[in-house]
């Protein structure tokens, strides 16, 4: 198959024709680079232009539900840029509150994931190699199985008559059911549960690569284990901590399914507000303005993530 493929790529072009056209044709290398480049450009970058465009349009009862920005009427080009949606998004308590709340929840989720995940990663990375693979697999497996089902699973655990409350009542650890469902507790538990593998996998990769001779040296020089941990292990794993935290924080800001299923009806994360704008109120321009603001908000952490990834890739 490979032979036919390569001869097809060489094509029926005659040698003479190729020589004459040569300087004008893009080289094979350029074509190979250009294809995935163009794909990502069209389906990742260009859509943001569409978002920007519609965020300046106005709502209209039509299909699609927004007004055109540039109109050609009476031989004059009319450009109507509507900034109202940005004003709305940036001054409305609903949106501002949703942004702040989303960032708070995402930051808290990241912090708890770190506190839970770091020791676990550390323990796995320091366990003997034969067990390591098994443990790592056990961390990875939930990452693969259905996200939706895993969030759903918590409904059965957190409800008033759910498994956790039934256990607590049965063990006399609580006198009445704890309210864990449809409020911030449920939301946070669901977020941490879902994002923990995202944090643990890259963090583990960092910790397992770490040079342990430094630790041995510190031990030989009389450092206590916790001293060695705080002066050597923790500083050395800084990059891993930052990378994996960003991997949790950034997507967590825009989370929709978990607050919708486990959070309270008043816990409006920005993802939920945008969903409602879009599907309930059909206010596409405002949703677009909210999207643009969210991209701006996340630009800095995303650039940070990109920088770390790039350094990682260079030094792989």
């Amino acid at each position: 198959m490979s032979a036919t493929l390569s001869s097809a790529l060489r094509g029926p072009m005659s040698a003479g024709l190729r020589r004459r056209l040569g300087p004008w044709l893009p080289s094979g290398r350029t074509l190979v680079i250009a294809a995935p480049f163009a794909f990502l450009l069209v389906f990742f970058m260009v859509p943001f232009a569409a978002v920007l465009k519609i965020s300046f349009a106005d709502v209209q009862m039509s299909v699609p539900p927004y007004t055109p920005i540039v109109e050609f009427k009476d031989r004059v080009v009319h450009v109507a840029l509507d900034l109202d949606h940005y004003r709305a998004v940036l001054t409305d308590r609903l949106y501002l509150g949703a942004y702040v709340y989303s960032v708070e929840i995402a930051a808290l989720t990241t912090l708890i994931c770190l506190l839970v995940g770091y020791p676990a990663c550390y323990l796995i990375a320091r366990s003997d190699p034969s067990r390591r693979n098994l443990l790592l697999m056990a961390v990875m497996l939930p990452f693969w199985t259905s996200y939706l089902i895993r969030v759903y699973a918590w409904i059965g655990l957190l409800k008033n008559q759910g498994l956790i409350n039934r256990f607590l009542l049965w063990a006399h650890l609580a006198d009445e059911p704890l309210k864990l469902f449809h409020n911030n507790w449920g939301l946070l538990i669901g977020m941490v549960y879902n994002y923990l593998p995202y944090l643990m996998l890259p963090l583990y990769a960092h910790l397992v690569r770490m040079d342990t001779t430094l630790l041995e040296a510190a031990g030989n020089l009389g450092a206590r284990p916790w001293q060695a941990f705080f002066t050597i292990t923790l500083p050395l794993s800084r990059r891993g901590i930052i990378a994996s935290s960003l991997l949790v924080f950034i997507p967590a800001v825009g989370e929709y399914v978990i607050p919708e299923l486990l959070g309270g009806s008043n816990s409006l994360m920005i993802g939920r507000v945008m969903w409602d704008d879009f599907f309930v109120d059909t206010d596409w321009p405002t949703a677009s303005a909210a999207t643009a603001c969210m991209v701006l908000l996340l630009l800095l952490p995303m650039a940070w993530f990109q920088r770390i990834q790039k350094r990682e890739m260079a030094g792989r």
Binding site: S2, A3, L5, S6, L9, R29, V32, I33, A35, P36, F37, F39, L40, F44, M45, V46, P47, F48, A50, V51, K53, V116, A120, L123, A138, L141, P142, W144, T145, S146, L148, I149, Y152, A153, W154, I155, G156, L157, K159, L163, L196, P197, L247, P251, G254, Y256, V257, L261, G271, F278, S288, T291, V295, L298, M302, F305, Q306, Q309, K310, M313
Partner: protein
Amino acid sequence: MMIAPRKLLGNGYLALVFLFLYVPTASVMFYSFNESALVTVWSGFSLKWYAALTTDDEVLSAAWASLEIGLATAFASVFVGTWAGYVLSRFKRFRGLTLFTAMINAPLVIPEVIQGISLLLLFVGLQEAFGWPARGMLTIWIGHTMLCVSYVAITVYARLGAMDESLHEAAQNLGATPLRVFVDITLPLISQALVSGWLLSFTISLDDVLMTAFLSGPDSTLLPMVVFSRVRLGLNPEINALGTLFIVVVTVGVLLNNHLMLRRQRRRDRDLALAFARGGVPAYDDPVP
């Protein structure tokens, strides 16, 4: 004995973390065999929710559509992702490299809401201008592929980086065209990365809610949307049964892939050791153990 308590503490902690990771899904699986319609009250063993699934037309037709999209997404993501990962790994310098790596890294973290809305607006704009594409299976396919491409690209990139470059050089020195080298040497060597990328894309596509909701049309209802709309109303024993099936299939697939991967690696290590034991360069007429 000072070491034992510390080790015990460590193991206990790990056990707690894994309990946290596994109890929820285990409970879903356990209660899928519950007779009662009240999901968290056990009343006896029954397979009736699995039977109910087989007659639930909404779930069945959505499952077929999802399967179709999942397969198409998995193949497309592996195709584009491998290409992108290859470019990233083989061409160290070209104009736009920074933008290229950014476009591969950003989808790993960017909230899906953003990607969903922006892709939808692109398609709506295109449809307005050219009358195509209408929202439906095609747009969902592209959207899902965008969710998975980066994972595949990064995996392939990492695998290529760990690979011995001398094989490529040797093939090239022997006169193979770059395409020939890619198909005959690179692809077989990264096949494991391709299989795991394929599996991951398939599973991402099968339960993606947001992208699907934004990009689907009236004639394309996929499984995650059906599940989501039911789950929103609370517990549902049929969803437990469906979830159990899903978890079992994915777990078996992942474990199998991992097992084969480890076995192949072990065999390769053994071959290398054998070759070195015989005095350096492996001879081609050696019997394959």
